[in-house]
C-alpha cells in the first residue's frame, strides 16, 4: 500500500525535502512524502486480496480525512 497526504493537504515533510532538493540544484516541483506498507496476505484470488487490503487501509493504515491510499498487488507462492 502507498499511503500519502491527500492532494491539498499541507505536507511539511514534503516541503522540507522540496527545499533541500532545490538547494542541491534539482529543478523539482512539489515533493510529497508518503509511506509504503508491505504485507503478505493469504487469499484465494487477487480481488479477494485487494478487498482485504482495502479494509486494512480504511480501518487503520490511512486516515481518510487527510490521507489517500493506493494498492498494488504482487502475486507470489508461499
Amino acid at each position: 500500500m502507498l499511503v500519502r497526504p491527500k492532494a491539498g493537504i499541507l505536507d511539511p515533510q514534503g516541503q522540507a525535502v522540496e527545499r533541500s532538493l532545490r538547494q542541491l540544484g534539482f529543478a523539482v516541483g512539489e515533493a510529497r512524502i508518503g509511506r509504503v506498507i508491505d504485507v503478505d496476505v493469504d487469499a484465494a484470488s487477487a480481488p479477494e486480496a485487494r478487498a482485504e487490503v482495502e479494509r486494512m487501509c480504511e480501518r487503520l493504515l490511512a486516515n481518510p480525512l487527510i490521507e489517500s491510499y493506493e494498492i498494488e498487488l504482487e502475486s507470489g507462492v508461499a
Binding site: 493537504i9 499541507l10 511539511p12 515533510q13 522540507a16 487503520l60 486516515n63 480525512l65 487527510i66
Partner: protein, 163 residues
C-alpha cells in the same frame, strides 16, 4: 455510600507517560483517580475517564491510530455513548480524534518542530462539566507539548462545527 470523591478512570497505554501527572491533578481537584491498563476490556466504576498524554504505541503509523483499537478504548467508546464524560489530554486528544469520538485529526506541526510552551486559552463557556469551576472570559495558561498538534478538519466538517 460514604465515598463522595468522584472516581475518574485514567487509561494507561504502552508509551503513555503523563498518567501520573493526570492522577496527581485529579487528586488535587478532589477526585479519586483509578489507573486502568489499556488491555482491560472493561472500565472500573467511574464517573469520568481521562486519556492522558504520552506516546502511546510509540506514535507509530499516526499518533493515536493504534491506541484507538485497545480493548479499553472499546469500553471508553461505550462509556461515551452512554453519556459518560471523557477528557483527552495531549496524546489522549489525538486518540479521541483517531477513534472518531472527536471530530478531525491531528497532523504533524507545520514547523515540523516539537512544540513545548505555554498557550493562553479563554474560557468561552463555564456551563460545561469540564469548565464549571472557571468563569466566562477567564484566561487560562495551559502548557502544551506536541509534535502532531496541528488539528485539521476539512471545510465541510469545520462549517458543521462552527454552525
Amino acid at each position: 455510600m460514604t465515598e463522595t470523591r468522584p472516581h475518574v478512570a485514567v487509561v494507561v497505554f504502552p508509551g503513555s507517560n503523563d498518567e501520573r501527572d493526570a492522577a496527581w491533578a485529579l487528586s488535587a481537584l478532589g477526585a479519586e483517580p483509578v489507573l486502568v491498563w489499556h488491555a482491560e476490556p472493561e472500565l472500573p466504576r467511574a464517573d469520568a475517564v481521562v486519556l492522558p498524554g504520552g506516546f502511546s504505541y510509540g506514535d507509530y503509523l499516526r499518533c493515536g491510530a493504534i491506541a484507538r483499537f485497545a480493548p479499553a478504548m472499546e469500553a471508553v467508546t461505550r462509556f461515551a455513548a452512554d453519556g459518560g464524560l471523557v477528557l483527552g489530554i495531549c496524546n489522549g486528544f489525538q486518540i479521541l480524534c483517531e477513534a472518531g469520538l472527536l471530530p478531525g485529526v491531528l497532523r504533524p506541526n507545520e514547523s515540523l518542530s516539537f512544540v513545548c510552551r505555554d498557550v493562553f486559552l479563554r474560557v468561552e463557556r463555564a456551563d460545561t462539566p469540564f469548565t464549571s469551576r472557571c468563569t466566562e472570559g477567564q484566561r487560562l495558561v495551559i502548557p502544551v507539548k506536541h509534535g502532531e498538534g496541528c488539528w485539521y478538519a476539512d471545510e465541510d466538517l469545520r462549517a458543521e462545527l462552527e454552525a
